[in-house]
Symmetry: C2
Subunit: 83 residues, 2 copies
């Protein structure tokens, strides 16, 4: 079966996000003053061939732990859908 | 009212994603051979102060068009939630 895993990797709340701060300032300069805080992370889409949704979720989580996320600075969320 | 906008910015399907290809190869080298395709984009979280959900959505969309996404290479999706 074919599954698509969507992975959100975001900087931990406790840490500064300098890229987000820069974008926040730029948005203010563009007149979007209603924006208070910006945090920027990664969105990763994996196409996975697996026997079950559980297998696909496990594979995606392993990919995060081994390669995609740095647990010292980032938190990740995995959601898996069929197709 | 306070809203949080989650923005997903992904490379267009028609275009190559060299970063995704590199990650795909790395995942295969790590033994995760069930992964067929990888696409990598950005996830941006905005805290927005606005009068209504519609206002917040409009502000986030404007932020994408003016700064966060490059329409030549990227597509974006905005979802807004309260709080």
């Amino acid at each position: 079966m074919k599954y698509t895993a969507h992975i959100k990797v975001m900087p931990l709340k406790e840490l500064l996000d300098p890229q987000g701060k820069a974008v926040n300032s730029s948005l203010h300069n563009l007149g979007l003053t209603g924006v208070n805080d910006v945090r920027i992370g990664k969105h990763i889409a994996l196409s996975i061939e697996a026997n079950s949704k559980e297998d696909a979720t496990q594979m995606a989580t392993e990919a995060c732990k081994k390669l995609l996320a740095n647990p010292v600075m980032e938190a990740f969320e995995v959601t898996v859908a069929e197709g």
